[in-house]
């Protein structure tokens, strides 16, 4: 086991809230997002999309469109199939024993969701492309469709893929112990259900791509609002039938991603092939109505738990169904696997019987979404805890304390096979209680109830396994960084991890600047360019600091070692007597003895055979960081561990519910977060604050609704797909708890995903706590007035909720 290493003896930046290193460019509107890219001769793509949820394509008539104003090229699905192969799945269900299907950039024979790309246009302007799209005549033979997940599992449901014998993609069991035997002996048993709605990530910048095909070099340069440039290059090369080294992927500044900009989208290879076939650079920018099509998260849970009178949960059964829409190439469906694997989060439940069933439907496909399925597990587990508490008349905090893993039990192997690194969950719970001032709130709650006002306090524990590596896929758990110091003493960092906005770029510069003793303004970082950076997997799974950050740390340490040797020679003192800081190497015992880092660097390059003898030039190092604890060889029970680190948090929400209208107002929200060692506190808090708002949105308002009559998405813009605005959320109260991971060099655990599930669960528990006098159980998320009121009214009138 690696010892946790103090970040640096001369920490100047690490641990401080250094502001965004390139913030000024953002504030002046100078950052270049995908839609800001202009290439000489650039044309624009328009995409013809299916208006039907399920139909056979009889014919595609492009003749009118091809002669429309500004149009230079038109492409049907049949023609596209001559030039492209199916898009490789990010995670192919077949590799896990499930069913698969070919996904193409344009549909050929039939469409399986509203919005599926059917044909494409290239035109001189965006207006011309959009106008020509409407001139394409596609003749469809309409087929029966199914958009409900459980209906789709029925034997008589319309068959979405004819070569499948039903619509089930895969069922994955996660079993430990003998639940039925425990149930048979149980003191108490509780059964209930919870429907999690379909909702999505919706960064404010939609997707977009610019493809430039170079016919002389037979190569592509692809600019994309994407999270994973190197793995995307592999996908493009396989789809476009070119070598991987003939594709260069560049991610410009990304305006938020949250999983949406992980790849597998049909428009990625489509933009490329349009460039090749039209002979022009081609840009495609997504409209918000198209962003809204990308789904996530819809799951129906039916669970059963047994527990003792002391609140100890002895067995858990949850057979849940996730409706992932049509099977797409992005990693969306994999979220369901993680929902199953993450049970029973940080609780010690010996017997579990979890079955994750993934079903296809005629909704549009999923992509990854912040939390990657673990948010659903958090919600269901935390509801179970509160339901057990209600059943026993116990304090839900006590039920948590009885069941949570204790701090002396780490590393702790869960029923699912995860090996949790470190933590102190009970201490985090206590801190949350203290932070929110629970006794005063309980007193206020009692007081308000006399006036029929319903205040509620809800807690939620959240475990966020981070930095995962899924074997056999390009979901990698390691990453690579290069640190280069030039003869002027300036530093360039190149790394395989990318930033969607959160600030890992600045944090990596903090680590590197400390190691080599320079001002952060003398360092720059390059990310998201497959030609320039080392191979890397980009951003997902809270991995950027765990992998890219630790790799940069190791590389910078290599440079530091060389700087110290030269400094020691020039200052005539021991290396251990030297402090590297803010551009200077200085003797600790005699601070008057100092030399600029830039002079040391110049020495390395110019006096390689004199002062710098024995120090290998140049001042460059490329290092990979592979965290410990990932275990892909199955253990005795056949289980593997795909996550090295496990961030955790306790969330507490205070809400007021208007029981006459069903309206919920979040009054306060607090989080105790353990992300291990913290490089930059405000960035870590920023990740949590953003995820918390997303979780509050998930709890109260966000919902992608399909019209059951037409299969169309009714919530296709921000007027109907509601996301939290400033007045919908409170200030976020936050406390850090640091239990460094023993499995990463810096002790970091990863931040970014935590908060979505925790906030959703804390708010949901708070609403139930508020409505406890009415005895309401809400089984349909989100807790909007419609669903809350329905639960209250049906409870009051004694009808089945």
């Amino acid at each position: 086991m690696t010892q946790t290493i103090a970040p640096t003896q001369s920490a100047n930046y690490v641990g401080t809230s250094e502001r965004k290193h390139n913030g000024e460019k953002f504030l002046r509107g100078e950052m270049v997002y995908i839609d800001d890219i202009r290439i000489p001769g650039m044309h624009f793509a328009g995409i013809v999309r299916s208006p039907h949820p399920h139909a056979r394509i009889k014919s595609v008539d492009l003749s009118k469109a091809s002669v429309a104003e500004g149009v230079i090229f038109v492409l049907s699905g049949a023609e596209a199939a001559k030039h492209t192969d199916p898009i490789p799945h990010f995670i192919d269900p077949e590799a896990f024993g499930g069913k698969t299907t070919d996904v193409r950039c344009l549909a050929v024979d039939k469409v399986v969701y509203v919005g599926e790309p059917v044909a494409a246009i290239v035109a001189r302007t965006r207006q011309d492309a959009e106008a020509a799209v409407e001139l394409v005549d596609v003749e469809y033979e309409i087929l029966p469709f199914v958009i409900d997940g459980e209906e789709s599992l029925q034997p008589d449901a319309p068959r979405i893929y004819e070569h499948w014998d039903d619509n089930k993609i895969i069922s994955i069991p996660f079993i430990s112990g003998d639940t039925e035997a425990v149930f048979a002996q149980a003191e108490h048993i509780l059964e209930d259900e919870l429907k999690i709605q379909r909702y999505s990530t919706q960064p404010i910048e939609p997707r977009g791509y610019v493809a430039v095909y170079d016919s002389r070099e037979s190569s592509y340069t692809f600019y994309g609002a994407c999270q994973n440039p190197h793995p995307l290059r592999w996908v493009l090369s396989h789809t476009l039938r070119v070598s991987e080294n003939d594709v260069r992927v560049i991610a410009p500044t990304v305006g938020g991603a949250f999983g949406l900009k992980m790849h597998g989208h049909p428009e990625e290879p489509l933009t490329c092939i349009l460039s090749k076939l039209s002979g022009k650079p081609v840009k495609w920018i997504e409209d918000r109505t198209e962003t809204m099509l990308v789904g996530a998260r819809e799951q129906m849970h039916r669970f059963k738990v047994s527990f003792t009178s002391a609140g100890k949960i002895t067995a858990l059964k949850d057979h849940f169904v996730a409706n992932v829409g049509a099977l797409g190439a992005p990693p969306g469906w994999g979220m369901v696997f993680l929902s199953g694997l993450a049970f029973p989060t940080g609780y010690k439940i010996a017997a579990t019987d979890v079955l994750a069933t993934v079903v296809a439907s005629n909704k549009s496909p999923w992509n990854a979404a912040r939390g990657y399925g673990k948010e659903a597990t958090a919600l269901v587990m935390e509801r179970i805890i509160d339901l057990v508490a209600r059943d026993l008349g116990m304090d839900p905090l006590e039920v948590r304390r009885v069941n949570l893993i204790e701090s002396h039990e780490f590393p702790y192997k869960t029923a699912g096979g995860l090996n949790i690194d470190s933590g102190d969950y009970h201490a985090a719970l206590d801190k949350a209680v203290e932070m929110i001032g629970l006794p005063a709130l309980r007193a206020e709650q009692e007081e308000l109830r006399k006036d029929n006002r319903y205040l509620g306090i809800g807690f939620a524990f959240e475990l966020t396994p981070e930095s995962g590596d899924i074997p056999g896929t390009l979901v990698g758990g390691f990453d690579t960084s290069t640190v280069k110091m030039d003869p002027s003493g300036k530093v360039t960092v190149l790394t395989g991890v990318t930033t969607p906005g959160g600030g890992n770029d600045t944090s990596i510069l903090q680590i590197v600047s400390d190691q080599v003793g320079i001002e952060i303004s003398d360092a720059r970082i390059i990310q998201g360019d497959t030609l320039l950076t080392p191979y890397g997997f980009g951003n997902y799974s809270g991995r950027s600091m765990v992998t890219g950050g630790n790799a940069a740390y190791l590389a910078a340490k290599d440079i530091r070692a060389k700087l110290l040797i030269i400094a020691s020679r020039l200052l005539e003192t021991d290396e251990s007597d030297i402090d590297l800081r803010a551009g200077w190497a200085r003797s600790l015992s005699n601070p008057d003895k100092a030399i600029k880092i830039s002079e040391i660097a110049y020495t390395v390059y110019t006096l390689a055979f004199a002062t710098a003898t024995g120090v290998e030039p140049p001042l460059e190092s490329t290092r990979v960081y592979q965290p410990e604890n990932i275990q892909h060889t199955p253990d005795a029970e056949g289980k593997i561990n795909i996550y090295p680190t496990y961030s955790n948090a306790v969330h507490v929400a205070v809400v007021e519910v208007d029981a006459d209208t069903g309206h919920v107002k979040v009054r306060r929200f607090g989080t105790v977060h353990d992300a291990g060692t913290i490089i930059n506190p405000r960035f870590v808090e920023g990740q949590m604050e953003g995820a918390t708002a997303m979780g509050i949105g998930a709890a109260l308002m966000e919902h992608s609704i399909h019209d059951p009559a037409t299969g169309h998405l009714s919530t296709n813009r921000f007027k109907t797909y509601l996301m939290p605005r400033a007045s919908d959320v409170p200030m976020f109260e936050s406390v850090h708890q640091v239990t460094p991971s023993p499995y990463t060099a810096l002790g970091t655990k990863g931040a970014g995903e935590a908060g979505v599930g925790g906030a959703q669960a804390a708010v949901t528990n708070a609403v139930h706590d508020a409505l406890a006098p009415l005895g309401v159980t809400i089984r349909q998320m989100p807790l909007n007035p419609q669903n809350v009121l329905h639960a209250i009214i049906t409870r009051e009138t004694g009808k089945q909720a």
């Binding site: 002046r28 708002a693 007045s727």
Partner: protein, 170 residues
């Protein structure tokens, strides 16, 4: 029956620079600024007037530039995020506050957040938290949960008050 028009003359001052140009009447103001004038700091997030990423000022009023035709802006004076700091090289106190207080992550929502803050502080030097939230409710941010933004506006308000007091005492 009327004939559709080709381009129309438009005369605007953008960030202090006069432009006399012919504009396609189909262009929304945001597209004119981004495509014709290459001022790409104004962003497009929805084209329905909901997200606020395309916010600019027209004749001093904060507006969403996806909701107007460029030809409607004829005769107007426009400011975009590129002109937010004003004539000097320095960032304005509002911009500095957003930087220091982590008032953005991906930066896409900044045009709306900055301009709405400026409008708020022009009307109310000492806004409450509720005032601040109300003032930025026309903008969506998906990264920060608004926490850093509210703190930025509070800091900017304090800085503006200090600045004004100095000016008065001078």
């Amino acid at each position: 029956m009327t004939n559709p028009q080709q381009n129309l003359p438009v005369n605007v001052v953008v960030n202090g620079v006069r432009h006399q140009v012919e504009v396609d009447p189909r262009l929304a103001l945001v597209d004119f600024l981004r495509e014709d004038l290459e001022l790409t700091g104004t962003n497009v997030g929805c084209r329905t007037g909901d997200c606020g990423a395309c916010t600019v000022t027209v004749d001093g009023e904060v507006v969403k530039s996806c909701l107007s035709l460029a030809v409607s802006a004829d005769g107007s004076e426009i400011r975009t995020i590129e002109g937010f700091a004003g004539e000097g090289e320095e960032l304005s106190p509002i911009q500095s506050a957003f930087w220091n207080e982590f008032g953005f992550q991906c930066g896409y929502c900044l045009p709306g957040m900055l301009f709405c803050t400026e409008e708020l502080l022009g009307e109310n030097a000492d806004p409450s938290e509720a005032d601040i939230r109300h003032a930025i409710d026309g903008n969506l941010c998906r990264c920060t949960g608004y926490h850093g933004i509210v703190r930025s506006v509070q800091t900017a308000a304090a800085a503006t008050r200090t600045c004004n007091r100095k000016r008065v005492s001078e």
